[in-house]
């Protein structure tokens, strides 16, 4: 696996053999009417998630920081600030497994529940721990970004200087006790080039950290989309609104 840019003070390339694949998603519920998604589909989706876990998928980014953490499927509850209801990151053994896994989930009933944007790519940089207590944070922040036309036009020296400036901001993030689960590249199968996933203690931390990125002009060379949400089990986030009995009357 080749990284899109070289190592910096904060980030270093993943070591080991073939890169693991990542599956980034945002989902919007579409089960307003009874009969679309019920207990049967919910159980089938949870069964596929259990199969994927047994096949080596990481369904909980906490595992990236702590391999002993339980692999309980989680996602960010994002409905309070975003047009989509959930967002999250899974990891699969390879790209083909990632793509096929999304189809298995969709066919088990996920497609009935969520209108989903799946972004499939590869892990690129190793995880980085924030300073201080590495508590299991209850919130997460996701940053999707792409290099813009100005980055494309810039010289190698200008880009290197920019990377070093951004490193100052990333060091600031770590001082906020942000845990960064590395960097994923999404450019093979999406318009976004990258994802960063952070564990944070709350939305204010994300806001404060992003001000640090603005100070070093991070956004002069990138266009980004930021997502904040509380981490909750997917079993809850994907709970049916209607029971199957009502569905039979539709």
């Amino acid at each position: 696996m080749s990284a899109l840019t070289g190592d910096t003070d904060v980030f270093s390339a993943e070591t080991g053999g073939t890169s693991r694949a990542c599956i980034v998603f945002t989902g919007t519920r579409q089960d307003d009417l009874p009969g679309i998604y019920g207990r049967t589909e919910h159980d089938a989706v949870m069964a596929v998630l259990a199969e994927l876990a047994a096949e080596g998928w990481v369904l909980n980014q906490r595992r990236v920081f702590d391999p002993e953490a339980e692999n309980v499927p989680v996602a960010l509850d994002t409905g309070f600030t975003h047009a989509h209801d959930i967002a999250g990151v899974f990891e699969a053994p390879d790209l083909d497994a990632a793509l096929q896994g999304t189809i298995r989930l969709e066919q088990a009933g996920w497609a009935r529940l969520f209108r989903t944007e799946w972004m499939i790519g590869l892990r690129e940089f190793a995880p980085v721990f924030g300073k201080g207590a590495h508590a299991d944070h209850g919130w997460a922040f996701m940053a999707l970004w792409e290099w813009n036309d100005q980055w494309g036009e810039a010289s190698r020296a200008e880009r290197d200087e920019y990377d070093l400036e951004c490193d100052i901001a990333f060091k600031g993030d770590l001082a906020h006790e942000v845990n960064i689960s590395g960097r994923m590249r999404l450019d093979i199968a999406h318009g976004w080039h990258h994802l960063g996933y952070w564990e944070i203690s709350g939305p204010d931390v994300a806001d404060s950290a992003i001000r640090g990125h603005e100070e070093v002009a991070d956004f002069k060379f990138t266009t980004s989309r930021h997502i904040v949400g509380r981490i909750r089990p997917l079993a809850e986030l994907a709970a049916p609104r209607h029971d199957d009995r009502k569905a039979s009357h539709v």
């Binding site: 080749s2 073939t18 793509l99 290099w147 036309d149 093979i188 199968a189 999406h190």
Partner: protein
């Protein structure tokens, strides 16, 4: 793991939407020709390895991008290998893009 990976490999469509970044129009002709030649060599290497290029289609009339290239690769990993070769040949510095991968849907078109 590698055997399992190969066993699960499925033909994979790769859709590549692109448009020139503004500074592409300022690149001297000789440099442009060298870049295009390098990118064509990447495409030829993919085809020599078994990938099928269905074509490059103009979509500017109804899309944010100018063209879409449609490819079939032996696996998503092979599609990634092709894209990475383009990245190393500096293609994304000159063209904005959005890519997609997809597996054939069994039963589609049976109706």
């Amino acid at each position: 793991m590698s055997e399992q990976t190969q066993a699960s490999a499925t033909p994979c469509a790769w859709l590549h939407y692109a448009r020139p970044r503004p500074h592409w129009y300022l690149v001297p002709e000789a440099e442009k020709a060298a870049l295009k030649s390098a990118w064509a060599a990447v495409a030829k290497a993919a085809q020599d390895a078994g990938a099928v290029h269905q074509g490059c289609f103009h979509i500017r009339g109804q899309h944010d991008f100018e063209t879409v290239d449609i490819w079939m690769f032996a696996s998503s990993q092979a599609a990634y290998g092709h894209w990475q070769a383009l990245v190393e040949a500096r293609y994304p510095e000159y063209f904005a893009f959005s890519n997609g991968i997809g597996l054939e849907l069994p039963g589609a078109g049976d109706a």
